[in-house]
Symmetry: C2
Subunit: 158 residues, 2 copies
Amino acid sequence: MKHTIAVLVENKFGVLARISGLFSARGFNISSLAVGETQDPSVSRMTIVVDTSEARILEQIIKQLRKLIDTISVVDLTKKDFVERELALIKVNYEKSIQKKVKAILNKHKNTTRLIREARNEAIIEICATSEEVAVFVSNLSPYGIRELMRTGKVAIA
Amino acid sequence: MKHTIAVLVENKFGVLARISGLFSARGFNISSLAVGETQDPSVSRMTIVVDTSEARILEQIIKQLRKLIDTISVVDLTKKDFVERELALIKVNYEKSIQKKVKAILNKHKNTTRLIREARNEAIIEICATSEEVAVFVSNLSPYGIRELMRTGKVAIA
């Protein structure tokens, strides 16, 4: 099961290494992690997604996270009502012969996607949607040849 | 100066801790970091932003990154032509008296923003733009009361 955890921390060097170290010490792989500034530049917010069936161990990791000196708060959003979004940048094959097909897919997802750049048989597309929608869009595009894909990892707000 | 570094790594536990540890061991603070899956689920891509004037030390860190067994490639995008985007979720005060003003700001940024949810005098807004545009939007909104702000950190594609 995927768990989405929001962590507020002091924006200091070493915090990210300590937090990711807590997960890896228990053999947990972080599926995605996004960390950026908040309205207060001295505070950062992380959204961490882990996929695990070991809820008890995750509970222990959360307790340890709360004990770290630079941690301000930890919330397991999985148990709450939250809004989630993920951003992906995709470089896709855009040769003349398939442009119409790629455009048709973009049109199907027109509320969440944008064609940012076209050049030399390639296009760069942006999608900003739920992680599930991003996955559907990527699998629709993939028969046409995805050259690069960069996902931010999910961010979520309660 | 801000440096944007793209790192492709094997998607294994412990990789994130090792990479963030390399930066903190040198006293470098990571301004933002986004890590997510690529088109190949066994490979993750990180976009790391660091703000530093010590280019020589950063060069050393990049060399060390390349030596890590789970690293596939490291590119300092700062030296290249790249497209960047950042996603932010913003929970803003949305009382009746200021709804018009908030809507006017949204309208100014209508190509990059969306009102996702309205409830109990609050609204959740999504913006997907360059880091610079996100910063401008946030500063335009802030007089009306930002309650929560979550940025993904920049992602970039060459």
